[in-house]
């Protein structure tokens, strides 16, 4: 496959964006998991579906938009969804989790309408749902690079504040941190990563790349720094093994990446169990 990567542009695009996503999704995912926001990531991916389906429908029905990259409307939908979730969480202060089913069903509802209007499932849409090795364009790759730059700048600027907010929100507020604004920015960046990851992993499986490597890392890491390092390592392993097997077995990469992540997770659970029984020295 290494030779093919150098030979074919579509493989270069898929592999490069896969490696970038394998880095930024688990990196941000560590904060998503420790802040107990994993389900919000899932809700946002469903909202992205509405944006993608809407864009596919518009490109069919409006001539001028025929060449519009669906990723743009996907990003707009995801970011808008993240802002709505925050609004709903404040509106239902005592039932914050209600925001998730509301936004998730809104996303799926609009998605279903646009898919029907576009007269059914196209192979293009299948690629968006479960990921695709062949469909990543050079333009998609540039969008992913742009999102990665935003994520890295955001985390470099707010790393210590995000740590405090994740660990002890009340303490963060008492310390005078602008908790609300940092949280809103965090949600927007999360929405961007979800929209950016879906070309490779697919809308329905995108949140798993943010949570499964982190779940595995948390089983065996002692510090926050180690959790981040291991999450990224497991994310990259899942993407590399997942993409190679998807290419050779002609499978959707979303599926192979997620199954690889599950295998890594099971191995870490098993190693922890063996360690606690004294079979493996730790």
């Amino acid at each position: 496959m290494i030779e093919s990567i150098f030979q074919y542009e579509f493989l270069q695009n898929a592999f490069s964006s896969g490696l970038i996503i394998g880095f930024i999704a688990p990196l941000l995912g560590v904060f998503i998991v420790v802040r107990r926001l994993s389900l919000i990531a899932d809700a946002l991916s469903h909202v992205t579906l509405a944006g993608i389906a809407g864009s596919l429908y518009l490109s069919q029905s409006v001539g001028a938009l025929a060449s519009l990259n669906p990723l743009y409307l996907g990003i707009v939908a995801s970011v808008t969804g993240s802002l709505f979730i925050e609004r709903l969480r404040r509106l239902y202060k005592h039932y914050e989790e209600l925001a998730i089913p509301i936004i998730m069903s809104a996303g799926l509802g609009f998605g279903a309408i646009f898919i029907s209007l576009a007269e059914g499932f196209s192979s293009d849409l299948f690629g968006y749902l479960f990921g695709s090795v062949s469909a990543v364009s050079r333009q998609d790759l540039w969008i992913v690079i742009g999102i990665a730059v935003i994520v890295i700048v955001f985390l470099s600027l707010f790393f210590k504040e995000l740590f405090v907010l994740s660990f002890d929100e009340e303490y963060a507020k008492a310390s005078g941190l602008p908790a609300k604004w940092i949280h809103v920015l965090f949600m927007i960046v999360t929405a961007l990563v979800i929209a950016g990851s879906m070309r490779i992993v697919g809308i329905l499986l995108v949140s798993s790349l943010m949570t499964l490597p982190v779940a595995a890392a948390m089983r065996i890491s002692k510090s926050f720094k180690q959790s981040i390092f291991l999450s990224v390592l497991f994310g990259e392993l899942a993407v590399i093994i997942g993409l190679i097997s998807a290419f050779y077995l002609n499978l959707a990469p979303g599926g192979t990446i997620v199954v690889t992540s599950i295998i890594i997770l099971l191995l870490t659970i098993l190693s922890k169990k063996l360690e606690s029984k004294g079979v493996v020295s730790g």
């Binding site: 504040e161 660990f167 002890d168 303490y171 008492a174 005078g176 890491s221």
Partner: protein
């Protein structure tokens, strides 16, 4: 006379229909070790949240170091240790060092990294609470009392003038409660840190404390600890709402 570090003027607070605090006037001076005691629902935690600026009073004004709360920007001068059971995420994958270091977040400010000598500062803060040998442990592996000491170290790392603790001994076993108050007393006397402590447990009011404020929506008593010792149990019961038994923790610590 020096400006009080914390000065509450006619503070009232109302949660929808319920009055939580009524006309509270309280001055906390430098070097005080004040215990705010009162039964459950007496407004103790609400009062702390108002002092910390987490809640806005319905009426009245809070001055911190002589400045009204909205204008007070030096939050690092006030260390806060919240009620453990309410706030911290026990499954969090962080070491004691990472947690204590995060106490510098406000002092350093946005967009800046921790200084190169941060680990030395962490060590000093952990030493002052007797936890330096636990620096690399995972926070979730520690007992309730040890975790509270780590949170005090997190508050101390920014060299605060005042330490505010909300029910710090909830979930701490009685043996460790004694040494915990002993440590607070040491911080108050040797490091000249003003301490404000909230508790519903009258037993917890030990001889380490210099002042007591008895709160049940209103301040029923504020003064020196020994003045309160002279109060009869009947007087205490009158505002506490049920039978009260005074226990001297300090003498137990010394024994």
């Amino acid at each position: 006379m020096a400006t009080p570090l914390i000065n509450l003027h006619n503070i009232s607070y109302q949660y929808e229909q319920t009055k939580a605090l009524i006309d509270i006037n309280l001055k906390i001076e430098e070097g005080d070790f004040l215990a705010i005691i009162g039964p459950n629902g007496s407004g103790k935690s609400t009062l702390l949240k108002i002092i910390l600026g987490l809640l806005k009073p319905t009426k009245g004004e809070v001055l911190l170091f002589g400045k009204p709360v909205p204008q007070f920007k030096e939050k690092e001068r006030i260390g806060y240790v919240s009620q453990k059971s309410n706030s911290f995420n026990t499954g969090f994958p962080a070491t004691v060092t990472e947690v204590v270091r995060s106490g510098l977040v406000k002092k350093i400010g946005l967009f800046h990294r921790y200084p190169a000598n941060v680990n030395k500062e962490v060590k000093t803060a952990l030493k002052s609470v007797g936890m330096d040998e636990f620096a690399m442990k995972n926070i979730g592996e520690l007992s309730g009392g040890q975790q509270q000491r780590v949170f005090i170290a997190r508050a101390l790392i920014s060299n605060p003038n005042v330490l505010i603790l909300d029910e710090p001994t909830v979930g701490v076993d009685s043996k460790n409660v004694k040494s915990f108050y002993h440590m607070l007393s040491h911080l108050n006397r040797e490091h000249n840190i003003t301490i404000v402590l909230v508790t519903h447990d009258v037993d917890a009011v030990s001889k380490s404390i210099s002042h007591v404020a008895c709160l049940n929506k209103r301040i029923h008593f504020h003064g020196f600890k020994n003045e309160m010792d002279q109060m009869s149990d009947e007087q205490l019961e009158a505002w506490y709402g049920h039978a009260v038994r005074k226990v001297d923790h300090q003498s137990e610590v010394k024994s």
